[in-house]
Amino acid sequence: MMSSILEFLGDDSKSTGLLVLLAVLIRVLTGLSGYSGAGDPPKYGDYEAQRHWMELTVNLPVREWYVDSPVNNASYWPLDYPPLSGYQSWLCGVALRAAEPAAVALVSSHGYESASSKTLMRWTVIVADLLIYIPACLVAVAVFYPSPDTSAAAATAGSASSPAASPTKTPSSTGTAAASTCASPAGALPPPFSHSPSFSSATALSAAARRGRLLALFGLLFNPALLLIDHGHFQYNGISLGLTLAAVAAIARGRRLLGGVLYVAALNHKHMALFFAPAFFAHLLGWALHDPAHRGVPAKLLAVAKLGATVLLAFAVCWAPWLHSRQALLQVLSRIFPVRRGLYEDYVANWWCASSAALKWKSRFPPHLLLRAAAATTLAAAAPAMAHQIAGGGGGGGGGGGPSRWGLVRCLVNSGFAFYMFSYQVHEKSILMPLLPLTLAAGREPTLAAWLPLLACFSMFPLLVRDGVGLPYVAAAAVYGAVMAGAALQQARQLQAERRAAPRPGALARVVDAVTGLMVDLWPLLAAAGVAAAAALHGARLLLPAPPHLPWLYDRAFITFSFCGFAAAFCYSQLAQWLEEPVGSGPVAVAAKQRAARRLKDE
């Protein structure tokens, strides 16, 4: 039985191409709407900030980009992102200048808004997506959801030193394949909208594996939160996120040095990628400690040193123009990390903002204390996930050591959530960070990947509606929900059937399995209740004006509702990292999965 129009697509290049084409279309359509600060002098919004950076970078020498001056005023959208953003602004600025010089003229272009420059600006974001984010999505999906023949190729290509690329996960994927053929006799039918693999079932993925791959691809390409922020509100998050995704894919394929460089690039485009730093650090450290190729302490140290040197070198390249003096470097750093901003901005669905209803953090405590508290809680929240990776969680299959690639993805989710929830100076858009690895994991956490991006949009609604992105908000969320929900539920049921066939050992695992099993069974009900509650809040906001003495009532309600969802997802995700990718019992876990597959086959 088909549950989603997504299942009309196959795993061939034609279907993927179609999906990419539609992803570009929805980006263009989203861009038809308003943007942050449209027609709102004197400071406008993020759109003007990006345009202003283009103006600065094309008109000033590189060394003056971060230096205060009459034309580069610290009070008017100073360049406060790391150098790669500056370089990208310069590239976009050059393109904009070629088409419409007035749009980037020094000073005189402040607040420049024209229909043609808006279209051009929109296209720079789309081109950036086409060059970085979308290819990264395709590569990451190919690495994490390999078709049987490519995973075999990876196994032969991957040497002993790269256990993650060796077929550690093959047993589980055969498990899904076996399960799917049992669950639906039609699973063996050829994928409907692709005829190349029609008659060669050896190259065609099983229905469940294909669905998992499509869920991840669709989730990454159509994530409504990212669409609305980058192509509605106006930012270039896709670049940093795409580079992060590419880094994850590279590391999963055993190319750790390349992964390190790509992550440094992501970090140097937008320092919000720091949210992922604990995960990358812990994963690579875990690899250095546990990989069987690293026998003895010197080998482990050498591995760490090689990574460290590569990362430092990559940093040096990015920062080259400012390395000539300590003062220049500090000037850039002070621009990038303005501690003068508060604990959080506006209304964010994180711990500090949500709990500020009960305790006014900002007024009760001095900023430096809050900064420390934020750092400590963030680290504490990320610690379990880091420990899991450093201990080599999920690894051990196929004779290899080190943490598994899925462990890395789950650690990225947790580390992203830890920063979103507890770190200093978080804004609404930071929720994009945990969403990235989460949508990549859509084949394994289908229901989570279906509702969290929608909840993320909901949590950003006050911002979006201020930007005039209300209509795209409805449209992008509707498309995502409509296409994703059915297929995600189908996938979740399949995974649940597998789990029930082979219960995991341990009381905690049994409790979690029982709860998640119940949630999957009740999913239509829960989803309906969630949508109804969100719709009710929207309706109330639209129809009933907030009481005069509680003007923030609706914003508060929106973020409290979102916070509950995020907190639940974070807690589950913490547990799931340990349960899904067990530490130290790699071979045991693999054996259990094989047993499950066999049992399903026998049934």
Binding site: M1, M2, S3, S4, I5, E7, F8, K14, S15, G17, L18, L21, L22, V24, L25, I26, V28, L29, T30, L32, S33, G34, A115, S116, K118, T119, W123, A186, L189, P190, P192, F193, S194, H195, S198, F199, A207, L471, P472, V474, A475, A476, A478, V479, G481, A482, V483, G486
Partner: protein, 619 residues
Amino acid sequence: MVIKHGSFGVLCLQLAVVATAVKLLLLPTYRSTDFEVHRNWLAITHSLPLSKWYVDATSVWTLDYPPLFAWFEWALSQAAAAVDPAMLRVVNLDHDSAATVAFQRGSVIVTDLVLLLAAFWLARDVAATGVASGGGGGSGIFSGPASSGSRAAPPRSTSFSGLPVDSRSSAAALAGRRGVALFALLALNAGLLLVDHIHFQYNGAMMGVLLLSLAAARTGRHLLSGVLFAVLLNMKHLFLFAAPVYFVYLLRHYCFETTGGSSSSGSSGAQGNWAARGLTRLAVLGAAVIAVFAASFGPFVALGQIPQVFGRLFPFGRGLLHAYWAANAWAPYAAADKLLVLAAPALNRQLGWAALRVDAEAVGSANLAGGLVKVQRFAVLPQITPSITAAAVLMALVPCLVGLWRLGRAAGHVAVGPGAAPASSRQHVRRVFARALAYSCLCGFVFGWHVHEKAIIVALLPLAVDAVCSRLAARRFLVLSTAGHYGLLPLLFRPEEYGTKVLLVASYFAVAATALGALHGDAASPHARAARTGGKRNAGLALGWLQRAYLVGFVAVELYCSVVHERVPALRERLPFAPLMLTSVYCSLGVLGVWGDIAFEWSGEALGYPSRSSFGADT
């Protein structure tokens, strides 16, 4: 991957949500003067008495749609009053407050529900038909002897032995996918998105009524079908082109139906019953249709305004060609005229006598300098009058009408297709109706007087019904939709919408090509079976080289129009009309090709010679 009954609805619902989301996203785009046209009609119908509806000329955009559409506007205006009463004042010309824009855009999206509903009904019927006729292939539009199949006809003896074991379930699955694909092709039609949701019109709702009428005919509810068509005709008289086909179909295959019933031929008693039943049905149908017309035009008859109303509805003073030429038969004609004007001096000099007489006055009136080639009179070629276009349309329709009439007679010995379970001949005729309807609308587009480029959509949507069932029709649909949609692009001329319009058309092409290719390349489709038994590779749509070249040619045309022409000053200055002329003429080639293809097929049908396609295995 069998699509169960429940999940079919879910899949269509998902597509409907996606379609509506796209429409919402298009809300802030460019609006043509049609936005003001419809605002004015809202105002006229809301604030003026009936007697002034077709008289008022406060705005230049006078009411020129038939009365039922005016009533449609009146119904909308009741809701509009609650949103922004200012839009309902006739004197508030060009009123476009944010609320008005949201309301008018929203009204198009909401009334599009008629289209979605009709698409669902048709799609469900297509999905169910395949299951009902079992062993696959029976859902072909024209099923008949396989001998004349051009490329994929299997030897007759293997037609059943070649079936896969699970042919019944996979044929059912294929039928379900056909239904979903049809819903997607209808609900997400790029032409309607461009014309209704950017340019601004209400074609979706009216196409919905046409498709409802078609679905009613397919499911045997002929009286309903006839009434719905009468309603439609009274909303937009463009659909007049389809009236002859409706007339023949309802007369021959409803009133005086001979197919399907076993007792229809035989004793004279049965003959008498048949005649009596026919006359009763004709009377009832006629009365119903007349009632619709009476409700529509009656009040104006009473007011004595019929000449005034008809003067508004049929403004023949407008000229053969719209400002921008629609991609029909007159586009190459007009282009030839233009080229002959340019060539005439040299040619006459060469020949030594005035072989070509150039009408200097006509050259003066044809504005060659502007981007638009406005033609009032042809300078060299013979003039085309409204009666010539009417005659051309009728002549083009004759084979279809005759063929449709004869279908009933031929119906006794159809349905022995390759591997096809015999669909009842009654079912067969009802399915052919979609093709006849598409053809008649296409004839109107190709030869009609003052045709708008948008009218191609009217022919496209019925053809989609055919396209999901027949590979030949799928190829035609792909060519016609691409040519038709590309021909719409000049309507949206602002640079801001460039990416949107091109991507919408390209995406629709990609979705249609992938979906139709997969349907006709499916393991359960007749072609795939034929290819397997014949040891050939399964080729999906199997587009011919000419079709491929033509489709690729659009990339070249687009490159010329939007890149080369702009960059080369000599071209821009000397041939300012080239992009629009090239677009019209190139699109018309595809439209004429498809028209000729279907016309040839109907001619064979009319003459009693089943052509390669109509009775071939190429279903």
